[in-house]
Amino acid sequence: MIQFISTLSLVEYNQPPPKAVPAQPGTPDPFREFFLQLQAHATPGLSSWGKSPAKGKIPGLRKDDTAKKQECVICVEEKPLQHFPKITDSCQHPDQICLVCVQNWLAREADNTDWDKIHCVACKEIVPYNHMKRLMTKAAFEKYDQYSRNATLSKMPNFRWCISSSCSSGQIHEIDTDGYIFYCGACYTKTCVIHNVPWHEGETCTEYDYRQDPKVKAAEERASKIEIKGSSKPCPGPGCKVNITRNGGCEHMKCELIFELWDARVNENADSRQVRDVIMSSVGSVWRISIRFGRMGIRSMRRVASCTRRICQIISIIHYW
């Protein structure tokens, strides 16, 4: 039951539900875990004055003799000693800057500096998250908290922001499992993750490419010709009935339902075109895997590090069960 499909075909298929933030209760949520880790990391070293203040106390302030006053070296206001917080655990200087000035400074820095590089107003000690929380005004902290969360998320692999300008949501999107359409869990906007544009409805990525640039079509038609000359073989994987079509290259190829592609480069004879995408899609019981050649290089696919041989030109696979 072999059937060739065009090298370049991409069919829309049943897409698994997007992993939106926050996850449903009970399901493991990589964001939350990551974030909890982050917070847990920040907690050690918190000294007693750094703990959440008791009700009625001014946050961030020390409980010293309230009668004594000193002048703030920044705003030159005379204030009771308790208005002069210690800023970080490692600050070596006396506490001569009042909470209002510290708050002004931190709010300014939060707007202008990476959330994890904000330093004390009087020295170069970095102010950690928990102390930012203790010192900042509630509103400023909320903003900072948002910055820090966004920065943390952006660093996670496969995290994407929704491209809608009116939406501030984002989620993990793995092309391997989630496909090419990014469904925003918050605003339901569909984005093409290959082109990073609103999803081109009624058009595959290939068709979209053609419309954008006719040269792509010519290059890919050349790639298809290579395919036709190729031969097909059953997958060497035990118990697997999938047929793999290829034309030359090493034997180092097998299919699993999770497709593994070794160092996925077309061999040098083939114009050094690069494999652009491996597309796994299912229509009913048919799995369709196709590989596209293109200029953009390899995107998000599984690789097995053990094989360094350049791969054979895999063209297309259809799997019936």
Partner: protein
Amino acid sequence: MTQKRISKELQECLTTPPAGIKVNLVDEGNIHNWNIVMDGPADSPYVGGKFQLLLVLPTEYPFKPPKINFKTRIYHPNVTFDEHGSMCIGILKSDSWKPSSRIPNVLTAIQQLLLEPVPDDAVEQGAAQKFKEDRKAFDKEARDMTKKYAK
């Protein structure tokens, strides 16, 4: 908050300015622009000169450092020899500026710079080279320029 701090610093600089320095406002209605007159320090080739500087306090002061320029031309490795008289000194660089630093600290740092140029951090390369290679020639040039511009 900025206003109170600036007024206080101005008051201090008007009543007890650092030695060899006079301060007044460029315009009485605006406490952000200060006019500074600095005597060329003794033991420097600038002695006898009176140097005018313009000090501008940004609205974010003291979180941002003041800006200072020489209005009087000065031949010095760390001050541009042009109508801008720009300089780049440690205390005024935004990453080393401390909001608790005071204007008198800044002014004395500039006096110190006149006494001890920092040729490795120069903005005026010709002057820096001369300073390093031929100190006598540098001093003479600086004295001549002081006579010419800073009388």
